[in-house]
């Protein structure tokens, strides 16, 4: 049983009230709140066994190293990696994507090659490819979404020609909510010999993930959106590709030997982890995965389908609300962006904040998508395991109130 009230008790932040109004946190798409077990894991490390990892021959360091590498294994299993050696710790999904862009992209892309992305990408999965294109002379092509916010598969197929060497796309849009048909997209990309980079920043926290079933080549995701501390993310990569890639950041820990005139690299995954890693944050991400595993990712997804379905229905009945993306909750995640008559999303967010409701307003790091939709900004409510229908109701009621204030 998915018991939201029990879950909520695990999150200290959600116990807050302001002016007698409990916090309605609807910005998990930007970053999630943290359960007590994650906070405790962080605290315990600093209080009981903190030390630098990997080289220390004393109890604290051995314990810290052990917990750090155990966390890696948990996270690797969480996405069903074939080996923990394929799981590289980064700061966030953005760094993960940049790692691929710099290390695989600069090395393997050339003039005449094409990089294919979609028009609903977060800036993190667009700007690095623009930069790689600029440096290598490769071309950047943009696969479109349809009017109802789904990926246009016919257009995608037609754009897959042999010049396409890399396809990068999101598994779940942070604006439209769209879940892309990743397996099919990857299989098609592989047919023409392209490698595939999946932005899992929104999907990994919300859906069961299986990189072996997906058969993708890289998967980038962030810890902070899935209950983990800030400052930690991960890149999963296919071992055969990672093994051939040059390192990205260089320095201590990622080396096997260093001489004045050359250096040799450490084994995977450490070859891609230079300097002291985000030790405690990785351990905290391990605790976050424990928490999600205990709930079960199928149940997490089921909860979000139900809640998103409720929200799509409830919000679309508020006069003036126009929801972006598909209305079918099976085809989307729980990030629900919308416009509200003439009220600027910034004003709306400020008004909702006065009701202790936290939503996001702006272009959500997807400016080109907003340009395409002909709007400069939208409001976004995004859900996670601790949200419930009553909170959707409070949002809807407050929208009505805002309309009155603005005499919309």
């Amino acid at each position: 049983m998915f018991d939201v009230d029990a879950i909520r008790r695990d999150f200290p932040v959600l116990q807050q009230q302001t002016n007698g109004k409990p916090l309605v946190y609807l910005d998990s798409g930007a970053s999630s709140q943290k359960p007590q077990s994650v906070i405790d894991a962080v605290d315990a490390c600093y209080r009981e066994y903190y030390a630098n990892v990997h080289r220390g021959i004393y109890d604290l360091s051995e314990k810290a190293s052990d917990e750090f590498e155990k966390a890696r294994k948990k996270i690797a299993r969480f996405i069903n990696a074939k080996s923990w050696r394929e799981l590289i710790f980064t700061r966030n999904a953005t760094e993960s994507l940049n790692l691929v862009a710099y290390s695989w992209g600069l090395e393997n892309l050339h003039r005449g090659d094409t990089i294919l992305v979609t028009d609903m990408e977060h800036h993190a999965n667009l700007v690095p490819w623009q930069q790689v294109a600029r440096r290598t002379g490769a071309k950047l092509a943009i696969a479109p979404t349809t009017a109802d916010g789904l990926l246009d598969m016919a257009a995608y197929k037609s754009m897959l020609n042999p010049s396409v060497k890399l396809v990068a796309f999101t598994l779940m849009s942070n604006v439209l909510g769209t879940i892309t048909p990743a397996r099919e997209m990857i299989a098609l990309a592989h047919e023409i010999g392209a490698i595939t980079v999946v932005d899992g920043a929104q999907s990994v926290p919300h859906l069961p993930t299986d990189v072996q079933a997906l058969d993708c080549d890289f998967l980038a995701f962030s810890g902070h959106k899935m209950l983990a501390p800030s400052g930690i993310g991960a890149l999963w990569g296919r071992k055969s590709l990672l093994a051939e890639m040059p390192p990205f950041l260089t320095g201590g820990d990622m080396i096997k030997e260093v001489h004045f005139d050359h250096a040799e690299w450490n084994q995977l995954p450490w070859k891609f982890e230079a300097g002291t890693p985000a030790i405690v944050q990785a351990i905290g991400m391990g605790a976050a995965v424990d928490y999600l595993n205990a709930l079960g990712m199928d149940a997490v997804r089921q909860h979000e389908i139900e809640l998103t379905g409720y929200a799509l229905d409830r919000l679309s009945r508020v006069e003036g609300v126009k929801i972006l993306g598909t209305m079918n909750p099976e085809l989307r995640g729980g990030a629900v962006a919308f416009t509200f008559g003439d009220i600027h999303p910034h004003d709306l967010a400020s008004m909702l904040n006065a009701e202790n409701i936290a939503i996001r307003a702006g272009h959500h790091c997807a400016q080109p998508l907003h340009d395409k939709l002909g709007i400069s900004a939208s409001a976004r409510a995004s859900f996670y395991i601790y949200n419930k229908p009553e909170e959707v109701d409070r949002l809807a009621e407050s929208l009505d109130k805002a309309r009155q204030v603005f005499s919309l």
Partner: protein, 135 residues
Amino acid sequence: MDDLYRENILDHYRNPRFKGVLEPHTHRHKEHNPVCGDEIQIDLLVNDDGIIEKATFSGHGCAISQASASMLMEQLQGMSLEDAKKISKEDILENLGIPIGPVRMKCALLSLKVLKAGIYGLDQLSDLEDEEDDW
């Protein structure tokens, strides 16, 4: 929620003062904030004595940016350019009279920045900002 946007903000938003473009004008500058799409242009007509004979604004955006531009226009009419240069962030916030968070600050101050960039003739507001707030 009702108190958040005081009636005078909503009034300036719904009925902006001195909205429009000015011909002839001596100063014109326009900027937009890509994050929220707010866009403001300010036109000034300054006479030989350095007095702002007329000031207007145009553009679109959120209630905060539009109201603060409208209030600024009221203030500018008949003011000397020298005094206009001295209008500060604090003056604008006082006009609005509500607490403004860090993100909304950009909305609130957009018109002031357009004014200053127009007066100083800068194309890049960011240079001005950079110099302004090292601490």
